[in-house]
Each structure stands twice: as structure tokens, then as C-alpha cells.
Symmetry: C2
Subunit: 210 residues, 2 copies
């Protein structure tokens, strides 16, 4: 699969590295410096490379992993994203990262879909802290943790589920894109447990039925 | 422990029954008929009995498990709940149960604390479907599922954690009461997975660290 990473911070860098390790073609874009992107691509190995936002946005799958305050800027550079599977893990937080600026009656994922109506938006990967990705790759547990995703485009969701499995999780379909209204607040709950509980941030969750 | 149940619907009836089975004194209250409360108490066995809301509200621990539209009515009957550990699993839904009427900048649990400032409010038990309680009692898994709780009163939280353990879960402290802003939307996510996924509603979740 050809994957463009928009935003090569903690989430984008780690997920892009994992996807490259699974044999996908990955274009890292949108970091503070081109040097950082080059380093990332080199470290990721495989078919990873640094590129512009326009190049990343041209891939069949695009991971949106920028701070919400950067959304307008990166979308302007990315164009209309028509037909692309756009997987977003960008949480609609204010600049101070203290609260959601969209919630209850909409979500960041739905706002993104409205801004880019021709994109096939799926919300995924945002519900776990980036700290868990590499340790999970090493741990390879028999009972994989769950990872929620939601969206309105069935094929885009199937593609996303494959990438979630590549990252070592059991993909759990949370339904239509509007479920992001509940997934995004869940992310803040997870952040509390990861960063404020005094325990390790290498946190994931698993749904179980009895 | 002396536990009053306000609202003997699915959640209240099952949790009260489990608490009675663990040897606690339980007063069931606030059902459509007194006959239903009597039946519940008889089936629960142990030290369970039917009572008025005032009697239930007089116990050291009070479980609030009414539909949000009933909150004003039940609180009027319950009095000021001063000093009581009030565990709420009541989600602030509209009458049609289609959306949260409080979210993002507050939560049902925080609204309850404002209405009853002398109560020691803890949010718990709302994040799993009632369908899982009895099967979990039977399954007794080695790796217990998690159950989130949050509140501002340390002793009330400790009491709540004990009851969560009695119900077969591993209690997970989600922090101050305002975290209910994220726990309540999480409940809707869980409801989606329990009732709309085509799979069993006997659903729970477990946090794991890698």
C-alpha cells in the first residue's frame, strides 16, 4: 500500500515507521524541517522516504496526524484529497491542549469530512498513546489489544482495519463516522490513564465479551 | 456495607443483587411498583429488602441508577444526601435516549454534585452494559476486566473501588470527578459496541500496559 503521512510528530513518525516495516511504501511529510523527515525515512528503512505534503497527499492512504491548530495549513497544502482514504488521529484540541473545541454535536473527524467532502475519512489510531506502538510490536501478545475505528466508507474502513492489524491491534468497528464524537472524548480518558495515573503510558485497551 | 439503590431498573436491580450476594445490606427503592421491589429483594436474598427512596438515601452508600429524566424527582425524595457516598451510573441523556444533554464542559456526575453539594459523588458502573454483570459473576476470569471510576473524595472513591471489585472488576481510578466528561461519552461508545455491532452485549473492557 502507498501511504502518505501528514504530520511526522510522535504519532505520524511511529505509525509510518511501523507501516514501512510491514512493507508498505511510506512518504513522511510535514515536520519542522526536511532534515527530520529525511532522518525518519532513513530510520524507518524499507520503502520509506521524505516528501512534500502534496506528495504525501497523493498516496492512496493518507494518515492525518497533525495538531488541530495546523489543520487548515496542512489541508491547504494537501489539496482536495479526492478519493483518498484519509485516516485521522488528530484530536480537535485547543492550542493549550486543555480541551476539545468540537464535541457532542460533532467531532474532529466529521469536521474534517466536511472540509474535504471527496475524501474517504476514517477515524483511527487516536485512541491509544503513541508510547504503546513500538512496545506492542515487540510484545506480540496472543490476545491483541483492540483499536477502535469508525467511518462511513466501507472500503476505506476495510483498508484501515488492515493497517490496524499491521500495527498489532485487533481492529474494532465502532460504526459510522459520527461515533468519533465518542471516540475523541475517549482519547482524553486514555490520556488521563496514560499520563496522569503515575503508571506507564504504554497503554492499550481490549474489549472482551463474557 | 449498607447500600441504598435509587432506581431498580436494569442497572440498579443487577448491582443491588450482586452487592447483596457479597453480604452487603441492600435497600432497593424507586421502581414502578412496590411489588417489583419486594420481588427483587426476595430474589436477591441475603440482607436485601425493599424500601422507600428516603430509606435507601439514608444508607452510607447510595447507588443512583435512574433515567436522567427522573433525576429531579428522585433527588427531591432523597433529600440532601449529606455525607453519603453517592455512586452514579446515570447518564445525562435526553428523553429519547438519543444524545447527551450535558457534555464537554460538564457531565451528569458534576451536575449531580452541584445539585447535592454535601454528597460525596463518585461516577462508576455506567461504562459497561448491565448485560455483563451476571455473566461476569459466573465467569470469574483470572484477568478481570477493568471498570473506570472517578471522583473528588478519596474515601468515597476507596469505598467505590471495593464495590467494583465485589462486582468482579479491576477498579481503575480515572481521576477527579470532571473526568466524567469523558467517561460518559465513553459509555455511548460502549453502548454502540454492545447493542449495534451485532455481537453480544455482555461486553467489558480491560486496560493493559505493554
Amino acid at each position: 500500500m502507498h501511504i502518505g503521512i501528514l504530520g511526522s510528530g510522535l504519532m505520524g513518525a511511529k505509525l509510518g515507521t511501523i507501516f514501512a516495516g510491514k512493507g508498505h511504501d511510506v512518504v513522511f511529510s510535514y515536520a519542522r524541517t526536511r532534515g527530520k523527515l529525511d532522518r525518519l525515512a532513513r530510520q524507518a528503512g524499507g520503502n520509506a522516504r521524505a516528501g512534500t505534503v502534496a506528495e504525501a497527499a497523493h498516496q492512496e492512504v493518507v494518515l492525518l496526524a497533525v495538531h488541530w491548530s495546523r489543520l487548515g495549513d496542512v489541508l491547504r497544502l494537501a489539496g482536495d484529497l479526492a478519493g483518498r482514504v484519509v485516516i485521522t488521529c488528530s484530536l480537535p484540541m485547543n492550542r493549550g491542549d486543555s480541551k476539545l473545541v468540537i464535541a457532542r454535536t460533532s467531532s474532529g473527524a466529521e469536521a474534517l469530512q466536511k472540509k474535504r467532502p471527496k475524501a474517504r475519512v476514517v477515524s483511527a489510531f487516536g485512541t491509544v498513546p503513541s508510547e504503546v506502538f513500538f512496545p506492542l510490536q515487540r510484545a506480540r501478545p496472543k490476545n491483541r489489544p483492540s483499536l477502535l475505528y469508525c467511518g462511513d466508507d466501507a472500503r476505506a474502513k476495510k483498508t484501515t482495519a488492515g493497517l490496524i492489524a499491521d500495527a498489532g491491534f485487533d481492529p474494532v468497528d465502532a460504526g459510522p463516522l459520527e461515533m468519533a464524537r465518542y471516540m475523541e472524548p475517549y482519547t482524553l480518558l486514555i490520556a488521563q490513564l496514560a499520563y496522569e495515573s503515575g503508571k506507564s503510558a504504554k497503554l492499550a485497551y481490549r474489549f472482551e465479551r463474557y
